[in-house]
Symmetry: C2
Subunit: 252 residues, 2 copies
């Protein structure tokens, strides 16, 4: 854990400073005491989900191992990466990893959708409703010391997604990753073109029917290379190439 | 499986065409019959590990489900990506994924090594000796329809690796990924600089002692961005950025 994140409802709101109690069996307690070997009075990096980050301090440790911490959170959240994705619903095992990695890169939004060549049964996973997806997103944010997680939405099909155009207000550059019938390459991305919306198909890519629909909706098909990538790997590759091209990968 | 791969020793060598028997319970048999729904006489993409690729044909299917196939393998292996990596030994669960993804990108070599800030116990995994690593590499190659897998070697420490310089004959450009104390960025990579050798630290990066040793050995420290990535994600990000910069990501 590169930062200890709290949910807003966990915080005792007033008077300042913010306070929070961590139960003995809480993963964060275990990380602070066992992995980081923190003692009473020690500081740690802390943040509140969807809010600020800064410094926490262990004020007391009970004999049972419960922590009382104070929080000074004066840093605004990290800037979001100006990228949203529409992704063909992947295998459940890939889905968590994909969400985790996309949260690490700080993307704004991840729309999951059925595709013609995707496996329909993948959409039966409970990961989106049982808290698994949210946990993966938070893990990814923690990796990047971020406090904000991408918004995840679920669409039955690419067609439905294109009909609803849940991005229309932002007017982003529309890109569909397509190694088989590309019109250009990610290398040609215009640095000024942001925000970006990147559609990534399922493992077996897009059907020609879907290519037509994407083109009619204003999407440009760009290649990620000749080697076929897994959906999760393709998402990381597309995001990192796009961030580099538009100059927002972010350098220390 | 995007291609059915065989080991050399599985092939009946003469006279041409090559022949191969697939047992009923073999994963490849199951993939051909159940997933791809192939019948007698049907063709499939086939290759031999470390060798050519081309077309296989199902000649007979016994009542027990054993396949006899003929192979016409006249295509030379895909070109290798001119990249090798030295990677701080990751968590065992990450190691397989990392090897799989690096095989998909067709890198030449992956040297694993202990690092100052890495967890020493990670090196106790049996994945490198029990066939797990090789299986992950083959899975990665199959994803990219490649027939060649990266060479994987294991070094006790970065120091030992730098002493042995297992790359000296190739004289590559030496890069160490370092988001905390970079001297430049992956965006600045010279397109003519290849082959590349990229060192990627463990989850917690390099120690200053290791930075000094890397610099003395001729490595330039380049940033992958301000967001801290997992080791496996950092490997994918570094490889895809490097391939794009040197123009060998490969476009259809």
């Amino acid at each position: 854990m590169n930062i200890i994140l709290f949910e807003k409802h966990e915080l005792t709101p007033s008077p300042p400073p913010l306070e929070v109690i961590l139960k003995p069996r809480d993963k964060r307690t275990i990380h602070l005491l066992k992995v980081l070997r923190k003692k009473r009075g020690d500081l740690f990096d802390a943040g509140v989900l969807e809010g600020n980050w800064g410094t926490g301090r262990i004020e007391t440790i009970t004999p049972e191992g419960e922590l009382a911490c104070s929080l000074e959170l004066h840093q605004a959240p990290l800037p979001r990466s100006p990228i949203s994705l529409g992704v063909g619903f992947p295998r459940p095992i890939q889905l968590k990893r994909l969400l985790r990695d996309l949260a690490t890169f700080g993307v704004e939004k991840v729309d999951l959708m059925g595709t013609d060549l995707g496996e329909p049964s993948y959409r039966n996973t409970t990961v989106l409703t049982d808290g698994g997806a949210r946990e993966a997103l938070i893990q990814g944010a923690i990796q990047a010391r971020d406090t904000v997680i991408p918004v995840v939405q679920n669409y039955p099909s690419l067609t439905k997604w294109l009909e609803e155009r849940p991005w229309s207000e932002r007017n982003p550059l529309l890109i569909a990753a397509d190694n088989l019938r590309p019109q250009g390459t990610f290398a040609q991305l215009n640095p000024a073109a942001q925000p970006l919306l990147i559609a990534i198909g399922s493992e077996r890519g897009w059907s020609d029917r879907e290519r037509d629909k994407l083109e009619a909706a204003g999407f440009c098909r760009l290649s990620l290379g000749t080697r076929a990538l897994r959906t999760d790997t393709a998402c990381v590759a597309a995001v990192v190439l796009a961030l580099e091209k538009i100059g927002t990968l972010g350098y220390a």
